[in-house]
């Protein structure tokens, strides 16, 4: 019993390593926020490309679907290796400039940027599917009303469909963000000194997991409030859609399960307004 508490909850050791652990967590936060923001944007681009109308644009849709399928279907770790390996090799062979192959922008290391790229590529694909569910859940009549007023497909998407879709998918997007945040720990394997790596280094040298537990607590400090926020948003949506109004109940059950949780479920049930 003593051993267990000492192994996981050695507060002295936590105190000694507080600085490095916090520093590592700060890197985790930076990785998460930057990758999360980029994935949100990239995912929306993919979702919109996937919805482009007409026969001439079919190849764009197919390519987009192929991209989404591919990146949802391969492990992030693998993407991470492929991205970092390719970029560093390509700059070594002078195929691409060094500043791109070994990016050290904004004072961050190359592994940080490799991580941002891999997380954005992968989570963009997840989030594209979430957006798509939201877009498809907007009743068809909305598009028809917009088009009947003379709006183009693009205008209808931009001013009518996407704003409604985004509102309904904020909770599942937040869930994906939580998953992304936890997946930033994978970037440690290519050399980023984020919180898990810092804790692991301490464990290796001290034969004690307390620094890792400290890291876990820091994660929970962020992810639990986010999970509660998701709950609140879902409850609010359900209250609103109770009147047969705008918001389809786009909520997933609160879930902070691993990266393999994949995209949010299928299209959220519509408010039943769509006409046959």
């Amino acid at each position: 019993m003593d051993f267990i508490s000492e192994y996981y909850f050695d507060f002295g050791l936590m105190g000694d390593n507080l600085g490095p652990v916090l520093e590592g967590f700060w890197l985790t936060i930076k990785l998460s926020v930057l990758s999360g923001a980029l994935a949100l944007a990239w995912g929306l681009v993919l979702a919109v490309l996937r919805q482009l109308p007409g026969t001439p644009l079919a190849p764009v849709r197919w390519l987009t679907i192929a991209y989404i399928d591919a990146f949802r279907g391969i492990p992030l770790l693998l993407v991470l290796f492929l991205v970092s390996g390719f970029l560093s090799a390509a700059q070594a062979e002078d195929v691409i400039p060094r500043a791109i192959g070994l990016p050290e922008w904004l004072g961050q290391t190359s592994p940080f940027w490799y991580g941002v790229i891999a997380l954005t590529l992968t989570y963009g694909a997840y989030m594209a599917e979430v957006y798509r569910a939201g877009i498809e859940a907007v009743p068809r009549g909305q598009t028809e009303a917009a088009r009947s007023l003379g709006m183009s497909h693009g205008q209808a998407m931009r001013f009518v469909i996407v704003p409604q879709a985004v509102r309904t998918v904020i909770p599942p997007l937040l869930n994906d963000f939580i998953a992304l945040m936890k997946d930033t720990s994978l970037v440690s394997v290519i050399g980023a000194l984020e919180v898990v790596q810092v804790g692991f280094d301490v464990q290796t040298s001290e034969f004690n997991g307390s620094a890792l537990v400290l890291g876990a607590l820091l994660f929970l400090l962020v992810t639990i409030p986010l999970a509660r926020l998701v709950d609140v948003l879902i409850a609010r949506q359900q209250a609103r859609s109770g009147r047969g109004g705008a918001a389809p109940g786009g909520g997933q059950p609160e879930s902070t399960s691993g990266p393999a949780a994949g995209p949010a479920g299928g299209p959220a049930a519509t408010g039943g307004l769509g006409r046959a």
């Binding site: 009743p139 009549g141 909305q142 028809e144 009303a145 917009a146 088009r147 009947s148 007023l149 003379g150 709006m151 205008q155 001013f159 009518v160 704003p163 409604q164 509102r167 609103r240 009147r243 109004g245 705008a246 918001a247 307004l273 006409r275």
Partner: protein, 259 residues
């Protein structure tokens, strides 16, 4: 108030809208089997018929929400079907408004924003101009006090009147009404029909798919009875409703008017 919409002289003499042998199918189902119809400027034509007869599809073909498979549609003398499909779409959508059974207001926008958005993005009106027009139209449909209200705070009848104002804001030459009172509670039907009646009196060209026989009789200049994807009978409202010539029309009216 909307008279300026009718000022462009093109094809002022010919029919406003002319449909020639329009066909539409959904997979195996042939919904329109050759519809011919002419509608004059300022005319109100009510389209009646049993459900599944193709009334709504007809309206949706007219503004190319559902492009017809074959046949021709002429709007103010210009063919909107056939080649140059995209031009046809733009041509008709700039001139013909539509009001839907389910209102289809944009739920994330207030009443006035619903009316402004297309004015600004499609017609390029500036914000103040669009807003002024929107407020004027809301007052006209009796909703001056609901300017900033969101659709989910409005009754069905109020939402539908906002939808009518939204269509009017684009200065349409004609408006299509697709069973616009069918989703309303009975006590709210009157306010929407009154708004439409006023529009008709002001000379708006209207094609009204409806189950409101009273409205068809009083406001419609002509009534077209559709069944099985064709116009079975079309003529002055009083004649078609009062003294139908076709057996199918008689049977339908018999069923409808019994209640």
């Amino acid at each position: 108030m909307s008279a300026e919409a009718h000022s462009d002289g093109a094809a002022a003499n010919g029919p406003m809208l002319k449909l020639v042998d329009v066909h539409k199918r959904f997979g195996q189902l042939e919904v329109l089997r050759g519809v011919d119809l002419e509608i004059d400027r300022g005319e109100v034509v009510c389209v009646i018929g049993p459900s599944g007869s193709g009334k709504s599809t007809l309206l949706r073909c007219i503004n190319l929400l559902e492009p017809p498979e074959s046949g021709q549609i002429f709007l103010e003398g210009t063919e909107i079907t056939g080649g140059g499909a995209k031009q046809g779409v733009n041509f008709v959508r700039r001139r013909v408004g539509m009001v839907f059974q389910q209102f289809n207001l944009f739920p994330h926008k207030s009443a006035v924003e619903n009316i402004c958005i297309a004015q600004e993005k499609v017609l390029g009106r500036d914000r103040a101009e669009a807003r002024e027009k929107a407020e004027r139209l809301l007052a006209r449909v009796g909703l001056a006090d609901k300017v900033g209200e969101y659709p989910d705070r409005l009754s069905g009848g109020q939402q539908q009147r906002v939808a009518i104002a939204r269509a009017l804001a684009m200065d349409p030459h004609a408006i299509l009404f697709d069973e616009v009172t069918s989703a309303l509670d009975p006590e709210l039907v009157g306010e929407v029909l009154d708004t439409m009646r006023e529009l008709a009196e002001e000379g708006m060209t209207m094609i009204v798919v409806t189950h409101e026989m009273g409205f068809a009789r009083d406001v419609g200049r002509r009534v077209a009875f559709m069944d099985g994807g064709v116009v079975v009978e079309c003529g002055p409202s009083a004649e078609v409703l009062g003294n139908p010539q076709q057996a199918r029309t008689k049977r339908f009216l018999g069923q409808v008017l019994e209640h």
